[in-house]
Symmetry: C2
Subunit: 262 residues, 2 copies
């Protein structure tokens, strides 16, 4: 199993505080030692840091902890290998291009019965069930909308349908984004918190570190943090329900009536 | 214009010495300040570091200079913007997946007259002529070999033909690799050196640094360094001829009789 961390905001924000706690779980406070990765969107551009080393030992993770990269859409992952060896090609998040945008995906869970037919456009490079699921999602979106990215109200029901199909094969918690929309699917375990005015102090569970967000923010800022297990012990985390597929925008989950919920 | 740096070896090797000199040209010894990037293959896995900051100022470039990442196929780029703004999405190298492998591409030159028709599989995310050319190359390979990667003798003439077509629109020096094969095309300016036993000391042009490779290597090691302008002042760099498309393997360019040269 693995753990997920996502961030969606209305203004570019660094993830140093959350990543400090999250990356501790990659070998210090928890056992997800088999690699890690993080993707930062900056407009349509995207940079991904990957390492098959444990996140508590990786010099690249140390850079990410120390160097504030500001982004509105971030997806991170720490891995405990189940399918696929410990290797760079099996580290999440995975990236592909669709409709002239980068899409990024990370998965928590196991899909033991998942064996999709060979998909025409996107092929996995590594051996994980996760990358196979990502390829099937993008193939489905591409075949459903060959002319380009449709409005969210058309895209959402198709994504929801293919997600349900895959989730029938096991547990399928995931984060998915193209830098515009930010999708979070709960199969068994996922939660989020929205930080907005009035901001308060937050204290990490995995390290004795407190940040007072009031000192670092403006009243208009809004940040959603989505993760497998809460990162702080003094904030009100909302638990997603099994089968729930949320879309975050500007640091808030969208109401279901704009999603074309099928 | 921009500059290219590539490395192909028979055993995984770090590129810290060459990258030290090369990255100096991103704002210190030369004017390529508009972003940089580097891709490292490790087996079929690939990690890319990108930054729109000058390579002499980027904390991520500092990590790459200091942290020895061992790889057999490396492609790096420093950018001086001509087409496309200074932004993350316009930093080379670019990456796409084809036939279940990652392909990585970086370009030096300008293609002012290059305006390919919309290509069916791969679409550019940024605004550079370079990414459009990369998408056309991959589309051509994909359409020519829909069933999967062909032998090099079949792939090479197709790559050579599409390269010539694109090169007719301007200057088109590039490095391209999927972690198995390493292609280097010279349109106007590209050179290489092969380091092998007996190893000697090499001295950088862009920084007063000397490394004695004899102390760091075994007699079987072989490393090819490919770049726009020589990095050292005491080694014999071989200049590629305009129109030449070399394939490096295990640190050596392959002889043309194995390439199906068209």
């Amino acid at each position: 199993m693995c753990q997920l961390l996502g961030m969606n905001c209305n203004v570019p924000t660094d993830i140093c505080f959350s990543f400090e706690g999250f990356s501790s779980r990659g070998g210090k406070t928890d056992e997800h030692r088999d690699g890690w990765g993080i993707a930062f969107f900056e407009g349509v551009g995207c940079r991904i840091f990957l390492d098959e080393k444990p996140s508590v030992l990786s010099p690249i993770a140390e850079l990410v902890r120390q160097y504030p990269i500001k982004s509105t859409h971030v997806i991170a992952h720490i891995r405990k290998a189940t399918f696929g060896v410990v290797a760079l090609e099996n580290c999440h998040p995975f990236q592909r291009e669709l409709w002239g945008r980068y899409w990024v995906f990370a998965h928590n869970g196991d899909l033991p019965d998942f064996d999709p037919e060979n998909t025409p456009f996107y092929h996995p490079v590594g051996q994980t069930d996760s990358e196979r699921a990502f390829c099937l999602i993008l193939n489905t979106l591409r075949q459903s909308f060959p002319a380009g990215k449709p409005p969210l109200s058309q895209l959402y029901p198709i994504l929801q349908a293919v997600t349900r199909t895959i989730a029938n094969s096991g547990s399928f918690n995931y984060l998915l984004s193209d830098g515009e929309h930010f999708f979070a699917h709960c199969s068994t375990k996922l939660c989020y918190v929205v930080r907005q005015a009035p901001f308060a102090a937050a204290h990490l569970i995995d390290a004795d570190i407190t940040v007072d967000f009031q000192e670092l923010t403006t009243p208009r800022d809004r940040v959603a943090i989505i993760t497998t297990v809460p990162l702080t012990d003094n904030e009100a985390w909302t638990t997603l329900q099994p089968g729930e597929l949320l879309v975050f925008q500007d640091g808030l989950p969208l109401a279901s009536d704009v999603l074309g919920d099928g």
